[in-house]
């Protein structure tokens, strides 16, 4: 083989070698396993903590409230709709109980009058007319809203 061709061939091999080496170094682990992305990123996305535990978890301790709720109009409303978890006590609600004050402002989030809300199903109130300055839970049991407390 002439020296010239040999050198050419050698350069060629070295170039391809370097190309493959750089590509290997720069491609992250598990890239391209399922497509043009890092397959491990799927697991990374699963790593996050669940702050909302789901109603089944609440039932472990609060079966009584769940039974009460099932009999009244708030039966479809899940616990965590109102009792959103405290972010620092995500693992244990006993450490920092997710207490809701039941103020008019809180209940108005769902029950204030708004033409965009469906007319039936969710009662809409003009809170200024409906006993202003009083918290809703002073009369209504939030778990069973039609069970009015006696004053």
């Amino acid at each position: 083989m002439p020296k010239l061709i040999f050198r050419l061939f050698l350069t060629f091999v070295v170039f391809v070698g370097i190309f493959i080496l750089i590509q290997q170094l720069l491609t992250p682990e598990s890239f391209g396993e399922y497509g043009h992305y890092r397959a491990n990123a799927i697991d990374d996305n699963k790593m996050s903590t669940s702050f909302y535990k789901g109603e089944a978890k609440c039932n472990e301790c609060h079966q009584d409230i769940f039974d009460q709720k099932a009999l009244d109009v708030h039966d479809a409303v899940r616990c965590e709709s109102c009792h959103s978890p405290k972010i620092d006590a995500s693992t244990d609600c006993k450490v920092s109980p997710p207490i809701v004050k039941g103020t008019i402002k809180f209940c108005a989030e769902c029950h204030a009058t708004n033409p965009a809300r469906l007319k039936k199903g969710v009662p809409q109130l003009n809170f200024k007319e409906h006993y202003d300055k009083q918290n809703c839970i002073e009369c209504h049991n939030p778990h069973a809203p039609w069970e009015l407390k006696e004053k």
Partner: protein
């Protein structure tokens, strides 16, 4: 001296070009054989059929715009509290009697949406919860220059936070405005259908808290899931169907005013 240098230069030039062309050619020759080396393609396709295909249904007739979903999403996914970072939010559309449309979403609907238009001017009004539509042909995935955003085998559009370079091309590419730049992680952020929750068998946080069950989450491949039932019972639509994104968030009772 001068002639020699010229010759050497020419030689070097030819060597380099030959190497370049040769390298490219060799790579092109090797590339198709890669599939032979890893015969996984076939297995993966059968696997995919066994995986769930996640989707969501939104019943606009039930949404009351309480904003619990947007609030829960922020807590669950540690989204910054500022009123311009949302993975999901609720918009209130108000069509006035003169035909103009007012769209408002103060703080994404958190704390309950309030009607700002007087009753006598309203022709109709409705709420539209928005989130990532998890497109089958996602423009954001096509726009990403590094492969940091992708459609997972179970049909959820995800972001690879460690690999994202923060160029925000995907944010511009998204026709639904569902992406944002997270100021803490400095990478693109978006709804993941609460990927960590759905893999534990829980519902996404927004679905979990919705007091009127306006959001329905489920597996599109499971013929007995709530979502498939919702799609069978209701005539549903997707947002911006003319863009052919084939999104997997289906709206019931969608008005033509919704953009």
């Amino acid at each position: 001296m001068g002639t020699e240098r010229k010759v050497n230069n020419r030689r070097k030039f030819f060597q380099t070009s030959a190497a370049l062309v040769g390298g490219t050619l060799l790579y092109a020759i090797i590339k198709p054989f890669e599939a032979l080396a890893q015969p996984k393609e076939e297995e993966l396709k059968t696997d995919k059929a066994n995986l769930p295909l996640w989707g969501m249904g939104v019943d606009l007739e039930k949404c009351i715009g309480c904003g619990k979903c947007a609030e829960a999403c922020k807590i669950e996914n540690k989204v910054p509290k500022e009123p311009f970072y949302f993975r999901t939010w609720v918009e209130q559309y108000t069509v006035k009697n003169d035909g103009t449309v007012k769209i408002e979403s103060p703080n994404g609907g958190i704390g309950g949406l309030k009607q700002s238009v007087p009753d006598e001017e309203i022709f109709k009004s409705f709420m539209v919860p928005k989130l990532c539509n998890h497109c089958t042909k996602a423009p954001c995935v096509q726009a990403c220059p590094v492969g940091a955003t992708f459609i997972s085998p179970d049909g959820v559009v995800l972001v690879d936070e460690t690999y994202c370079i923060g160029c925000s091309y995907c944010i511009q590419a998204c026709p639904y405005g569902a992406r944002f730049m997270n100021p803490i992680t400095k990478v693109a952020d978006k709804c993941t259908f609460c990927y960590h929750r759905i893999n534990e068998g829980l519902q996404p946080a927004c679905v979990e808290v919705c007091p009127t069950n306006a959001r329905i989450f489920g597996d599109l491949r499971d013929k007995e899931s709530d979502l498939v039932n919702f799609l069978q019972v209701n005539p549903t639509q997707v947002l911006k169907p003319h863009l052919n994104t084939h999104s997997r968030v289906f709206y019931n009772g969608l008005s033509s005013e919704v953009k």
